[in-house]
Point group: C2
Amino acid sequence: MDKVIRSLIIKGIRLNVTNNKAVKYGCKKFHTSSTHAVELTSVRYPKLKRGNYSRVTDSDIALFERILPGAERVITDPSELDGYNTDWIKNCRGASQLLLKPKTTEDVSAILKICNERNLAVVPQGGNTGLVGGSVPVFDEVIISTLQMNEIISLDELSGTLTCQAGCILGNLDNYVSEYNLTMPLDLGAKGSCHIGGNLATNAGGLRLLRYGSLHGSVLGLEAVLPDGEIVDCMSSLRKDNTGYDVKQLFIGSEGTLGIITKAAILCPQRPQAVNVAFLGVDSFSSVLEVFKETKKNLAEILSAFEFLDTETLRVGTDNLKMSSPISNHPFYVLIETSGSNSAHDEEKLTQFLEYMMTSGKVLDGTVAAETSKIQHIWNLRERVAEGLMHDGYCYKYDVSLPLLHFYDLVEDMRERLGDKVTRVVGYGHVGDGNLHFNVTTPEYDSEVMGLIEPYIYDWVAKYKGSISAEHGLGFKKRQFIYHSKSRSAVKVMKNIKQILDPKGIMNPYKTLPDD
Amino acid sequence: MDKVIRSLIIKGIRLNVTNNKAVKYGCKKFHTSSTHAVELTSVRYPKLKRGNYSRVTDSDIALFERILPGAERVITDPSELDGYNTDWIKNCRGASQLLLKPKTTEDVSAILKICNERNLAVVPQGGNTGLVGGSVPVFDEVIISTLQMNEIISLDELSGTLTCQAGCILGNLDNYVSEYNLTMPLDLGAKGSCHIGGNLATNAGGLRLLRYGSLHGSVLGLEAVLPDGEIVDCMSSLRKDNTGYDVKQLFIGSEGTLGIITKAAILCPQRPQAVNVAFLGVDSFSSVLEVFKETKKNLAEILSAFEFLDTETLRVGTDNLKMSSPISNHPFYVLIETSGSNSAHDEEKLTQFLEYMMTSGKVLDGTVAAETSKIQHIWNLRERVAEGLMHDGYCYKYDVSLPLLHFYDLVEDMRERLGDKVTRVVGYGHVGDGNLHFNVTTPEYDSEVMGLIEPYIYDWVAKYKGSISAEHGLGFKKRQFIYHSKSRSAVKVMKNIKQILDPKGIMNPYKTLPDD
């Protein structure tokens, strides 16, 4: 039970402020359900042709076994490979016959050198929590997993710089740096299984980008191996280093198509001593925006998250996951998190602000939590949406950026368009970053529904100059729509870069860049 | 006069807290002194050979005059060109015979297309406030100035995104966004004349990187023109957009060697309502670090700057610029700035913290300012150092990143090494970013002194895995030392990128990348 330390009743509504404790989030492990039902990607997309790559031979396997001695490092057992061939949202399934588990950068270099010489296509894989089919094979690419590259190399307490291998799990890193009063600059639902290398490769955004900015700012150093085995060492741990082009930036967000990230140095901010979370009910999306505007003004430097859920999204938690809502039903919900160094100051700011918002009628109902379990409960309503949607059967996932003024129109338009052909249409996400998660569910994959959603949704987003992938990347599923968000000239530069770094095209083929 | 609202006397030392007002910084214009005394770069570096570029002809000039009609857009008058040929610290002087002033992206595209076809080398120039000779010609490169590209295109108040042309002056942009309660995410001494395009091209760091992060994080969109005239449009104004490689990052910090930045979209944070500045005296550099550690812990989210000056640096202000110091003499000084949304909260945090630091004996003396003029006075002691050093004659400027533990050892070592051969050896800068400004002065350029400083200083920095250029870039003066801070593999990738974007090598030659 929360210890209620303050209770406001404004316009007949009780607003509780509970006692304050610094929060340490637990790590959640995503469970991959049985994968046998998942259609092979090559079957679902019959027009897609396998590239002219070699096929893995017994002598290749023998060579890899010499490079990676010891048990469980060269996997060829089909039943064991199945989980690595399939993405966790059961959208994509490849048919790789070989998984390799390097431990060191030198292992990765040796593997890639052989693959490049032998013209074997590869797919790098971290925690396999991606949402666009980027981390699983499309055909029979060799899977190079970072599962055994999980060493924390160093932590400079004074500057806050963490150096680690690419296969470290985000949640583990956050637990580690928390012992030094630091926090990882990114946080996302998959933190219990996603690898930091995958986070970097996909430029993961997540829940606190609003506060700590993008990985393009907080990654200080990076090491990657190019397809020919060359190790590109950009492993600075300095906050400022303007000596030549910032080569490491190329790998951030390139989804494993230019090389494999093997190490990183990341700037970790001071861990907040006081965390408060407010969960508010409002009557319309325009009220969500008004609350956002006022939140930025009033909570400024302590604001660490501003999320919204529509009422259908909340029902995913209450119906599918049997969670309870801390407030009564409303058309929209806002989750505001503050993080600061002085709990009394933060609570005063937050309470004053909410009192004003409720008095003004912009907020209809709300609860404020500062106690760990209640904060976690509220966050679960937001973070477990992706998991809850899976209970409906198949999920059509979209993750777009839109100007805030048109942000929710997309959901309303699509809900009308899809009608009763689907189980659910939901909109939720990071209002603070202009990032909408738009999801549709059906009992199973339905090509008619897919035909109604795509390319309509991409045209819609392009019309308002949004991004067809805010934080999930393009991966396999969205690469052909890149021109909806990027200019011809920018894609031309991308293709030139791909050509010089991966001339044979063995690195994660069929991903990110469109076919000509 | 400051209105003292609180006065602490701790250990016999008075600590004043003055009344609070939000601060609006003025814009300072750097003055370029007479340039006739500056030796031509081609004379000072006789071994450097001019590249095999064409020379500007009368028919070229006639063509440019057709592209850029109107007065003052095609400059060929040698006396007028002199200021543009010379950098403001009088270190470098080129011999360009042609300056062009485009107004639009299309103008830039048309100019570059001709230059590329004609094999004419070019140097892009913004406010010409660079410190490594990157913005002036080395030989007779055509100067393309962004002076007339100064349009503010749009401001999205809700998201805080400012869109503008590259030639806008940073200080003007900050004044503009301040009307909407926003602030530019970067601030530096040259803000009164530097152009935002130049800031981006050099990845300027400045005084508040500690708070708002690097430009790699806060630039949302960018437009650049490649040497062949192709306009690369990456002009997203979205906070999140993971659709393909982040091409715009390549131009940030490339010092005009890959293309000319013509437009940008920049995320502007909420403008702080309350600003406080503390100026403290401490007895040693290890005390500076202890104060920094405690500052991070106690002021966390409101900390916006942590700067230090050694006693010799303060004397540059008091001796050369006749400024007064607000506290008595000490071996080291620390400038702490806080920026927040609630002045009472911030003052309470800051005062409690300083009381603790003075009681513990780590801080010997201090003053706290919240009133605009006093804040500005304290900041001037820090911001006008570069200007003050020029009064000594010639300044050997270094801007390095070093691990904090070895940060000040460099200054002490060099002071001993140079002895009485020089006027002054000073160390100051952004402790919070691990960024030391190390400067030496002599009455005039002295090759013996230069021989004692370089390459010794670069070897010293490399030994501690620092950066030989934290925020100034490599430009003309430091490019040959790139391997002291970057790996061979990283520089190889840079050269490959240069080759595909600028195959003829016309873009700002002799800059950033080393000779083979």
